[in-house]
């Protein structure tokens, strides 16, 4: 590594408060030039706020930013770009119907007529392709590219604008393992060209795999910075939560009972009529957790929605304790009455109503039950006390049934959903992405409660794109790829590489 004159980025004593919340408290960060610098921390630790300050979305209350040793003020993303800072957002800022070239030009059109700027940028894209191996067809429509290629377009956008420092916010959240590997390769090439990369993630494996240095944030403070080579995932995890965390939860052997739910050759289409689940069959027994693994977008979501009655079947059948569910019973209300609980994958869009008071979100789906008041009218008291009971049982903080749902943190929102579905004592629990966007402390809690359901003799179906989670919880694992089951494994008989192959569609028959 070359020894630079000044670090690429210095953040000195950055302070930022939002009302009573101290999002960044006296944060110091030094990022040397030409390195990949990881930033890890739980949700709400202040990583995104810090990067938003660096990229000009917010201005810090106090503190100084230095780029290449020069103190600068960054008040907008335009100013950040002019200092050579580029950002790749977790949710891409791309216009899907436009071409790659048009997307890259956006905001840098270079005059009233497009042709001149377009020519220059086309040339630059070609150069970047040769220099860094970042090859994309400039005339392809962005909406038709894979997620990995779209991310590449985002990176190219930053590079075309002259970025020397790239900030990537949770870049692998949307990628397949193979795409993530390609991304890492790309980032290493960029590093080789003396670009500086700030890599935000909560996946410790990626930190260990990719970064040179890593900084840990906790509750708005920068608590530690390590040379990656001299640290370990347990040490990082401890620094993140400030206490010892058991990443692997203790769970005894499963005692599977009778079959509670069967899927027979089910076929499910998405809203556009595309077949997403293509002849899937499995059995789910009482007292076991069946994990459904797969890269996001391979039919798991549609499978879960079909089982929960939200999406209709285009073929096949669902059997509940030996009786096929007639179509009239395949709706969320009827299935809830049968005792099928459903924790949806997306708590924001599906599981909760964000503008509602927490107690109102805590009765969604059960709102017609007599516990909330007899006859036409609700009893507010009953609604609030029911929510308090659920919040106590699942340690939802703050314990404030009248607070707006949106004002809870992700982990506490998720606990609220789990509380609602589990406290009704369902026979079968369908769980999708139970810990997506949830901090480590809450992950542990949620995992324990899911295992507790199993130990109480319930059947649990777990859909997750996090392999760690699948391994930590499942008693049996089925892998979906392209809407078909490509394999079934017991966790003790398999490993991430094996599952990765199945997830990539290398099925047992083909292998």
């Amino acid at each position: 590594m070359t020894v630079p004159l000044a670090p690429a980025i210095e953040l000195i004593a950055i302070d930022k408060s939002f009302g009573p919340v101290h999002a960044n408290n006296n944060v110091n960060l030094v990022v040397e030039r030409g390195v990949i610098h990881g930033i890890v921390g739980e949700n709400g630790a202040g990583k995104s706020t810090l990067m938003s300050i660096l990229y000009g979305f917010y201005e810090a209350d106090r503190g100084e930013i230095r780029v290449n040793g020069e103190p600068v003020r960054i008040r907008s993303s335009r100013e950040a770009i002019s200092h050579g800072i580029g950002m790749v957002h977790q949710h891409f800022m791309l216009v899907p119907p436009l071409s790659v070239l048009e997307n890259v030009m956006l905001g840098a059109e270079g005059g009233a007529l497009l042709s001149e700027g377009a020519g220059a940028i086309r040339k630059r894209l070609g150069e970047l392709g040769r220099e860094y191996g970042l090859v994309v067809n400039p005339d392809a429509t962005v909406g038709e590219l894979s997620v990995g290629l779209q991310q590449r377009v985002e990176i190219l956008k930053a590079l075309v604008r002259g970025a020397e420092i790239l900030v990537l916010d949770e870049p692998t959240a949307v990628l397949t393992p193979a795409e993530a590997d390609q991304l890492f390769e790309m980032l290493r090439v960029l590093k080789g060209e003396n670009k500086t990369i700030i890599f935000i993630t909560h996946k410790l494996r990626e930190i260990m795999n990719l970064t040179d240095r890593v900084s840990v944030m906790r509750r708005g403070e920068m608590v530690a910075t390590f040379d990656t080579a001299k640290t370990s995932p347990p040490e990082l995890a401890d620094a993140m939560v400030g206490r010892k965390v058991i990443l692997k939860i203790d769970k005894g052997p499963a005692h599977p009972g009778p079959v509670s739910l069967e899927a027979h050759d089910i076929v499910v289409r998405d809203d556009r009529g595309v077949v997403r689940v293509d002849g899937v069959s499995f059995v789910l027994r009482e007292g076991e957790i069946l994990g459904v693994a797969g890269v996001a977008g391979n039919g798991q979501s549609e499978l879960l929605e079909a089982l929960a009655g939200i999406r209709s079947l285009s073929g096949g059948n669902i059997v509940f304790y030996g009786d096929p569910l007639p179509p009239a019973e395949r709706n969320p209300r009827a299935e809830r009455l049968l005792g099928i609980g459903h924790v949806p994958e997306d708590r924001h869009r599906v599981g909760l109503v964000m503008p509602f008071e927490a107690c109102e979100s805590a009765m969604l789906g059960f709102h017609r039950e007599p516990v909330y008041g007899k006859g036409v009218f609700y009893s507010r008291g009953a609604i609030v006390s029911d929510a308090e009971k659920k919040m106590d049982a699942f340690d939802v903080r703050p314990r404030a049934p009248l607070l707006k749902t949106a004002n809870f943190s992700g982990g506490n929102q998720q606990k609220l959903v789990l509380a609602r579905e589990i406290e009704r004592n369902p026979k079968i629990l369908l769980v999708g992405q139970p810990t997506r966007g949830v901090d480590i402390g809450a992950i542990e809690f949620i995992h324990r409660r899911i295992v507790a359901q199993r130990d109480a003799g319930k059947a649990v179906l777990l859909v997750s794109v996090e392999l760690d989670e699948i391994f930590a919880l499942s008693d049996r694992i089925i892998v979906l790829c392209g809407g078909r089951i490509t394999g079934e494994r017991r966790p003790e008989e398999t490993n991430p590489q094996d599952l990765g192959l199945l997830m990539a569609g290398v099925s047992e028959r083909a292998a």
Binding site: A23, F57, Y58, H342, P344, V350, V353, H367, V376, R380
Partner: protein, 369 residues
Amino acid sequence: MSAPLKPLPAWADVALIPLVNVAAAFVISGFVVLAIGENPLEAVQSLILGALGDLEGIGYTLFYATSFIFTGLSVAVCFHAGLFNIGTEGQAYIAGLGAALVALHFGFLPGYTLAIAAIIGAALFGAAFAAIPGYLQAYRDSHIVITTIMFNYIASAIMGYLLVNVLRKPGQMNAETTPFRDTALVPQFHEVLAHFGIIWPVTPFNLSFLLALICCLAVWLLIWRTRLGYEIRTVGANPTAAIYGGISPARVTVITTLLSGALAGGVAANIILGDQHRLILEFVGGFGFVGIAVALMGRAHPVGIILAAILFGVLYQGGQALSIDMPKISRDMIVVIQGLVVLFAGALEHMFRRPVATLLARRTTQPPI
């Protein structure tokens, strides 16, 4: 790109923002008055005295406010389900037909049950007319904004045809029905108060006002205290979550538009049964459209709607007084002021939100997630 809008504290959202919006509308109206060459302060004085200066003014103000409460509630109920009902105007018009048919043909009903039946007739006709766009929205994906706008024209055409060709009182040229019998009428306040020996000037202000207040309470209970209201709000706030929760957005859409149309029928009770005592052409006269502004200003909450309806009642009544006091200012000036209130309270609702939010930022804000 800029920082996301910070949420406002409840009191600012409910009270401060509407007040700022109305104030802005009045300031700009003041400039218009100034441009015409009149003194804006005198104009305001004349307007307020005309609307609230004596019992007669107050009677007219509340008579207009009654119609605005009904149309405001009608629009607001749909807001809660995420539906923008532009058709309150036409629904109220068709409701007039329901009221008239009952009043003219159910004369055998004893005493004031005829008036009650006529009100129910108005509600049913309004509901039925609203349910068609509701059904089309729920099951045929026809956008309710488009269909309700078109249905206003249909209502106008139907009523014009019926009043000219079918319902017109024989032997005269006016497109209006025979006057209703007394038992079909909603009593006016000066009559009611006369029973108790209280003298109130003769105004069209009638008992429909009490019905409007009862409807406000009923809507509040419905929206915030019943299962149906919970389902309506869930569909409005997050239809995906509603489906997940076993709620049918289509069913809720139809029920909500039925309720909305029935509330629009209150206008017919107020104007047809309470004042005109016969069915006339175009009696709704734009009150349905003003209902949109009332609902927006009132934040779709019954208390807010009462306040906004009274404000518009003041504008309506005061505007008439103003046009008499200051001949240079025509009735159109009131349309201008109303337009500005709609502009600021509706279309530019968010204009003052950011400055107010920034102003309050140091006191109450949320961290970004």
